[in-house]
């Protein structure tokens, strides 16, 4: 067996490499991004690094056909992270290989020449184990960044990007981009908060803990109190912190699917019958407007 790891401008692929190693070596990383990134990707577990180039004024997505052409020459399972450009490059590979796609794997292994994936279905409401005879495209959370230290040399491949797309401008995010996925402490806020003006109460707790601030989907998408990259859920950020403090979040399936990996869950909610209560390690039933400031005070 062999496997491909597709890298799209971001070294956060530790989990992708781990899964690729389980599928079976040799592992070939296909990299779109800077030369430095290609060097970083040459990490333990990676046997070969193929660098397709620096996209310059092209979006990384413009390399999807090049990735497809590369993998179709020697078909094998292809893995990538879940970020937008990673998914597009993986899609290019899946299309070229006519390969099925599987997401949210809990476990991956090679068995008798088959790739066997244990994965969530329908947004993670149930588990399924599926065996694939031929190549398969696997999309998963990338995990922490890798930084070289492996033995593979970087080979540059002659690849060209689709010429029909050009990045004409990028206004960098002024706010620091949320990095909930790798945060070890997260405070999440839900619709139990009565008004956007009350956000500082929860922000103060996050600051006192040194935690990232996350939220439920309605807070980001309906109310737009926080940016969309801060909502935790099956369709949003998947987090696995050491502690997740849920403030005014009832704990719908969609949300809990995004924080299943948390080591400890603390819930602060007025409703002692909310679904989150049975899925918490510490339950504080009461008014968040008195409890949250009290916890903030207790921390300092």
């Amino acid at each position: 067996m062999s496997a491909y790891v597709v890298v799209a401008g971001d070294a956060g692929i530790t989990e992708v490499i781990n899964a690729a190693v389980k599928v079976g070596g040799p592992v070939t990383a296909i990299v779109v991004g800077s030369a430095d990134l290609a060097q970083q990707v040459a990490a333990p577990g990676v046997d070969r690094v193929v660098w397709l180039g620096d996209p310059g004024d092209k979006p990384i997505e413009a390399y999807a056909p090049a990735v497809g052409a590369l993998v179709v020459a020697a078909p094998a399972p292809v893995l990538s992270g879940r970020k937008p450009a990673e998914r597009v490059l993986l899609g290019g590979a899946a299309a070229a290989l006519q390969a099925p796609v599987v997401s949210s794997p809990m476990d991956v292994r090679s068995d008798n020449g088959q790739t066997v994936v244990e994965h969530g279905v329908f947004g993670g409401i149930a588990l399924r184990t599926t065996a694939y005879d031929g190549p398969v495209a696997i999309v998963l959370d990338g995990g922490a960044a890798v930084n070289g230290g492996g033995s593979a040399a970087v080979e540059q491949a002659a690849a060209s990007a689709t010429t029909s797309m050009t990045v004409t401008s990028l206004q960098p995010n002024t706010a620091t981009a949320a990095d909930l996925g790798s945060a070890s402490l997260v405070v999440g806020v839900g619709r139990g908060l009565k008004a956007q003006a009350d956000l500082p109460i929860v922000e103060a707790l996050a600051t006192a803990m040194g935690a990232e601030l996350g939220c439920s989907r309605p807070v980001a998408e309906g109310l737009e109190w926080l940016p969309r990259d801060r909502y935790v859920g099956i369709s949003g950020q998947q987090i696995a912190p050491e502690v997740y403090v849920m403030v005014g979040i009832s704990g719908a399936l969609q949300h809990m699917g995004g924080c299943r990996g948390a080591q400890l869950i603390v819930s602060i909610n007025t409703d002692k019958d909310a679904p989150v209560v049975s899925q918490s390690d510490y339950v504080l039933t009461g008014d968040l407007y008195s409890l949250v400031p009290a916890i903030t005070a207790a921390l300092s």
């Binding site: 970020k83 899609g91 029909s164 803990m209 009461g286």
Partner: protein, 263 residues
């Protein structure tokens, strides 16, 4: 010129129930045009009106996808016509098989400038369908699209990414996956409901979609169980005491530092 919207007629998994053996029962969950796809249709409507293009919905799915109530529901959201392939053989089609069917439809329609999709499908959520569809068509694809405007030879797209707001100009046909908040979809009006039944519906057979791609073999299913939680209830009669108890417990567990902040 045609603008195409790929949509799914699917139930929301949140309304499904999962048996002890991990079998998912959708019998009590009603299929709908998901809110993500409704965003794509709404943006498509605006683009089609601005460019005097026809707005065509395409969908691949199980038998329910082709029922009159399903096609009318999609049409009532502002599509001019729909093309559907619905068959029991497509009910559990994976991303690649679905994308293959959609690609066959786009090629059959011809003269398509843009294919729009929702942010993700409610029933799988992997957000892989647009990239695979584009790969099969040999078209470029961009996700997380906030705004689209049509130019002389293509489109200009604004995307909200982690890195910031990115503008991309695209020449020629393209697949665009819209961000879930690209627009606020409106509920169909009463006139839209009545007009839906008068719009054209084209039905394709499974054979029209090309040979099926290999799918994996399901080895087993299971109910998803989260890690066991402790369920310790902290008395909140006195908020300060409750806070002290919680912070003490978290410090004892070594997950936060002794003076606040991260351990």
């Amino acid at each position: 010129m045609k603008i195409v919207v790929a949509y799914a007629w699917a139930p929301d998994p949140q309304e499904a129930s999962v048996g002890a053996d991990g079998q998912v029962d959708f019998s009590r969950a009603k299929p709908v045009v998901s809110e993500y796809d409704a965003v794509a249709i709404e943006v498509g409507r605006q683009l089609a009106t601005a460019t005097s293009s026809a707005l065509v919905g395409i969908s691949v799915g199980g038998p329910a996808t082709g029922t009159p109530v399903a096609t009318k529901a999609a049409l009532s959201r502002g599509l001019d016509e729909v093309m559907v392939a619905s068959d029991a053989a497509l009910a559990d089609a994976g991303t690649t098989r679905t994308a293959q069917g959609l690609a066959a439809m786009v090629q059959r329609l011809g003269d398509v400038s843009v294919v729009l999709t929702g942010d993700s499908s409610v029933d799988s959520g992997s957000r892989m369908m647009p990239p695979v569809l584009a790969g099969l068509l040999g078209w470029p694809v961009l996700s997380d699209v906030q705004k689209v405007s049509v130019t002389a030879d293509g489109v200009t797209v604004e995307r909200l990414l982690r890195e910031g707001v990115q503008q991309v100009s695209v020449t020629g046909p393209v697949v665009l996956a819209l961000a879930s908040d690209a627009t606020q979809p409106k509920a169909p009006g009463m006139k839209d409901v009545l007009a839906a039944g008068k719009k054209p519906v084209t039905k394709l057979e499974v054979a029209d979609l090309g040979p099926a791609v290999a799918e994996g073999t399901v080895v087993s299913t299971a109910k998803l169980t989260g890690p066991a939680r402790k369920g310790i209830v902290i008395n909140t009669a006195d908020p300060a005491a409750a806070a002290a108890e919680l912070v003490g417990a978290l410090r004892a567990a070594g997950v936060i530092g002794s003076t606040g902040g991260q351990a």
